[in-house]
Symmetry: C2
Subunit: 585 residues, 2 copies
């Protein structure tokens, strides 16, 4: 028996196996996962495993290594989150999300830190030796909402899209703030004196860490998209690039002390549309499924390890400190959400209801990130107290809040996610409104989100797509592509049914969506013609439509915001109209 030789991969495989089998086990009894969130069950399995290891070895089971967590377990989950991020609600609420993530987190850090310092001054608790700086350091790691925990719970309760993106977006983007504050306070702890300059440098770092992460992510994302242009002959390694480049973006960001989470999200969101257009359908299925599988395994492992690491002798159970930590975490988050939402609602028409506010405050779950950060703390005599407090806060939020949030959502009748996908009609209306709003913002000189979205789309179709897409044709809107797909499918069906002969002109009329694409804008008129038109009438209609289509396309440039009216080939335009008139005469 040569166990030493295969130990590392064998044990890793066994842990993954345990995690997967635990997952299967829960789902064998359908009732269990509908009452208790999976994350709780997994932590419970971890606790049992930890207990077994502890009783067998008579020493504390191995704790989750922070390096393993940050380098191997976290990236797949964040990649999955970024890749499948619903980009429309995310960008629509980006202001609110950033407010919660930046101001809200800072509010929580200082709120919790200062109040705990207050508690430490009570002589009866024997905590006078915990300095303000240590309390703030602890506040910086306990304040941040954890994306893994949030995802695990919110995926199961199906609240409405906006609420989901607010909590989830905050949990992702607060990483930059957490990283900066945590490192700032940690370095302050080691400094003999703190100068005012250091504090200002810390504030400046927010922008460097956050925006630097976005930049690194976008660079890798664009490179990934560019690389997939050339994989036509070796489809088999296409999915690889999605994983490699996003992982590299994470590692590079971490290397430069930027926010890795922000980088990987920017990378995934940036490359998605181009990569999807370049790679084959089966590669795309592989990417999607493998990403889901991988993040699911990571997630499972994290919760099991969280349970395992809880068992042991790493804790100092000073109950007043621990209880007040839990209470302050709840209070400051609730206050923060109330105050920030008050300001948000003043500037928005579509306000956040008080029910939604409650769920946002209540959904602030803590998880493995806090846990890893607390173990990364430099050794000092009260580290075990912080570990104990963090463990209790995590278990409290995941178990108590995680298990009660679903009944509360039911009880409050919080608006749920709509089940059906938007219809084509709705999609067209949404696009039309975007258009209109972009035009209004342009005319009024307001640099709003629609203005920027429009600019970005223009930049995308004019430059990015040409560089990043393999088959760059005309910029086609998704509706045109859908129409083409439907027509092709219908033609194949007719051919297979052996009746293509007499229905050749059918498909193009049956779904006669007349498209008049005008650079990046699409005006669509949906007409359903009767099946019973005779061929002469049909021909006549087609002729009229062709002429109108021509006219619309020609008059298009008049309302294009990226060219002056009359800038685009006015001579040809006039000529075209003349020819048309001549013909009609």
């Amino acid at each position: 028996l040569d166990y030493q030789h295969v130990q590392v991969p064998f044990e890793i495989t066994l842990w993954i196996m345990l995690a997967s089998l635990a997952k299967i086990g829960f789902h064998l009894y359908n009732k269990l996962p509908s009452v208790v969130p999976e994350s709780c069950l997994l932590i419970f399995v971890g606790l049992i495993m930890g207990g077994i290891i502890y009783s067998l070895n008579d020493k504390s089971p191995p704790v989750m290594d922070s390096d393993i967590f940050f380098l191997y377990l976290l990236p797949p989950i964040v990649l999955d989150a970024g890749y499948f991020m619903p980009s429309r609600p995310f960008f629509e609420n980006i202001g609110t999300i950033l407010l919660y993530a930046v101001v809200g987190t800072i509010w929580n850090v200082f709120g919790i830190g200062f109040s705990l310092y207050g508690i430490c001054q009570v002589k009866a608790f024997h905590l006078q030796d915990v300095s303000l700086l240590h309390n703030l350091l602890f506040g910086s790691l306990i304040a941040a909402v954890d994306p893994v925990a949030v995802l695990a719970v919110f995926e199961e309760i199906h609240v409405n899209e906006k609420l989901h993106i607010l909590v989830f977006g905050e949990s992702l983007l607060n990483d930059a703030v957490t990283v900066v504050l945590y490192k700032l306070f940690r370095s302050f702890c080691e400094m003999p004196t703190i100068k005012t300059v250091d504090i200002f440098a810390g504030v400046g770092k927010f922008f460097v860490v956050g925006l630097g992460g976005v930049l690194v992510g976008l660079i890798f994302g664009m490179t990934a998209a560019f690389t997939t242009r050339f994989t036509k002959d070796i489809r088999v390694i296409e999915p690889l690039f999605v994983f490699l480049y996003s992982y590299l973006s994470y590692l590079t960001a971490e290397m430069f002390h930027l926010s890795g989470i922000v980088a990987i999200i920017a990378c995934a969101m940036g490359m998605k549309r181009y990569v999807e257009a370049n790679i084959s359908l089966k590669s795309h299925t592989t990417v999607k499924y493998f990403m889901k599988m991988w993040s699911s395994v990571s997630d499972t492992l994290i919760f099991i390890f969280l349970g395992v690491s809880t068992i042991g002798e790493n804790h100092e159970w000073n109950w007043p400190y621990i209880c007040f930590t839990v209470i302050f975490c709840l209070i400051w988050r609730a206050l923060g959400v109330l105050v920030l939402t008050f300001f948000v609602n003043r500037f928005h028409v579509n306000t956040i209801t008080s029910k939604d506010q409650f769920i946002i405050a209540y959904g602030g779950l803590r998880g493995a990130i806090c846990f890893s950060l607390v173990f990364l703390l430099p050794d000092f005599h009260r580290k075990k107290l912080f570990i104990a407090a963090t463990t209790v806060v995590i278990l409290f939020t995941v178990f108590i809040q995680g298990m009660t949030i679903r009944p509360l959502v039911d009880l409050l009748a919080v608006k749920r996610k709509r089940e059906s996908a938007p219809t084509v009609g709705e999609q067209i209306h949404i696009r039309f409104l975007d258009h209109l709003l972009a035009g209004i913002e342009d005319i009024s000189g307001h640099w709003g989100q629609y203005y920027w979205k429009d600019k970005l789309e223009y930049f995308n179709s004019k430059y990015l797509q040409k560089i990043l897409l393999r088959e760059y044709d005309q910029p086609k809107s998704s509706i045109v592509l859908l129409y083409e797909k439907l027509e092709r499918k219908h033609a194949i069906e007719l051919a297979e049914a052996g009746q293509l002969g007499h229905a050749l002109s059918h498909p193009s009329l049956l779904y006669s969506v007349f498209l008049c694409s005008n650079n990046d804008r699409t005006v669509i008129m949906d007409k359903k013609l009767e099946d019973t038109l005779n061929p002469d009438v049909l021909e006549n209609i087609q002729e009229i439509l062709a002429r109108n289509l021509y006219r619309i396309r020609r008059t298009g440039p008049a309302y294009n915001r990226h060219t002056l009216p009359g800038e685009m080939e006015p001579v040809e335009h006039a000529k075209g109209i003349l020819i048309l008139r001549h013909k009609s005469l």
Copy 2:
């Protein structure tokens, strides 16, 4: 900058990235991969990389770690090979493959070992200090054909299926022999005296290592199949089990000093049909694509590392020894193939032609396994000579033989792989012949391959499927499933074309494949009825067919080899016939 922190994953990702980009690079110029095999190009890239590292650092670049190779790079390739192994040709030629793999490899080991020992006796070469045992040890590592190299070259030249499986099967199954001989000679090198008992124990080990590997593989394969019975509610982690269990089988086999390669192949081949039936279609696509991707990356990395490791100061260039090694490798393999094929052809009707023999001998490429084994040798003063000789043999076989084998196949007009898949008619005939031969073998009392195949199928449908499959229905042959699929597809098409009304009875007649399944046997009559039959005629035909179908099904048990004639409900059988007769009167 904190490079230390992310170094390990960062460098691994960069190496994989380099490998993938190199692959893309070759395929940008279509001419290159059609002349030079990809493996040669990758080694070349590796040589350049190694040269760069060598010139920058002024020391030898890191060699491929044997542990990394055997634990992480080799398993994905072997898993892919086992999972996509064409099982029919493999089992049809299993005798020949085993003969080549076991006897052929032993022949080569001793042939090369003894002849090199002869060369060492020539005083002019200054090699008298290399003992017979060391030569045999070297022979044991250099004799084995490498599956990775064979796969890389043979996948590109498309020789006929039998030839492919002979070379490829040999390269996979010789692992057991190589492992045993290599470890035997290595332990002999360290022993003061060798007893006869040790030699006999070594011979006995062949069976233990090989059959033990098969056993371990089958146990894990069956467990994997059993596990996928319960994944219905969490489709997302289904693909994981295929990878986890096969990797565990490899590691477990290695742990017990059994053949890991044999284990993983047995595991993959054993679980495939059950897992495929249990998991969803998209999970299966993910498994297939991810396996291909992973093995492709592993393969690429191996060849690049092979190139990188070649550069450096690990070599002792004693050219006579090296040249004679290459020559003996070629000669002994050619002789071995000739002698063994002579015996094989005496016992087979479908003989191996002399052209095929030449390709088998010429296709004996050496690769990364030899390379890793030579680095695993215990330190002794001539290790660098062995490393140099191994490197040259690998480069010679991969470059010279790998690049000339395609022109040679063209020149000799070796029978190629048929392009098209076998038709349904052919499949039915093959199955019918299998049936017939199983019956003949049974009657004549001969325990041939058809007899065993039939027994295995019976065991499978009677016990294994009931335990391992989630939806165990009737044992359905693949043709029945194909028919059902076609019928369903056709019905959907008709419904979509809006003409289901008048053609309802159409689909079941259009492909009227009349199936009469009789436990594990299927007699199929394929009839294409004219489209222009009137309804009365149709009804009449259907009635006649229904009656005939009944009769065939009833008389079935008479030729079922697993029940005695008349054992299965003879009363009901007779009653059925009576009723039918009564009706026809």
